[in-house]
Symmetry: C2
Subunit: 93 residues, 2 copies
């Protein structure tokens, strides 16, 4: 599938009363399309002594259905976009 992706964010910022700055096209991409969007910043904490399994995978693609845990959705995301994101693995030893 041939694909062309363009991400443009045109913004006009004011340099103070009555003095508009030059229009700047800024390339801005969000990372998190839909997880906990009512929160200003999505931060998760893990007390590592409470980890149950020898290895626990935490999501970094922001598309897991089990966020903050990884559920493998990054595979589908990488395939669809050519990206190369993967999880953070916490290992007990």
């Amino acid at each position: 599938m041939a694909s062309l992706s363009c991400n443009v964010n045109a913004g006009l910022s004011y340099g103070g009363p009555g003095k508009p700055r030059r229009m700047v096209a800024v390339r801005a991409e969000t990372v998190n399309p839909g997880i906990r969007k009512t929160e200003d910043k999505v931060v998760d904490s893990v007390v590592v002594t409470e980890l149950a399994k020898p290895t626990t995978a935490y999501c970094r693609c922001w598309r897991s259905g089990a966020f903050p845990l990884c559920d493998g959705t990054h595979l589908k995301h990488n395939k669809a976009t050519g990206d190369n994101v993967g999880p953070l693995l916490l290992k007990k030893k």
Copy 2:
């Protein structure tokens, strides 16, 4: 700053020899713009018993200069894009 962001990915996929399928606009955004792009999938492991500090922040915005660790770059990213990503905090207790 007033901003309008559009993400469009136009693709044409073929339904087999000589039969082009309908043009489909697919919204596909990469998460990782530039970290370790030669790797098929960027996976990091942490042996939690080797954590040095009481709390260690791991990057989930894929823009940290200290990746896989967090260096606060998500603040700049969130401000520029209206996103709300933040780190994963590993706590020793």
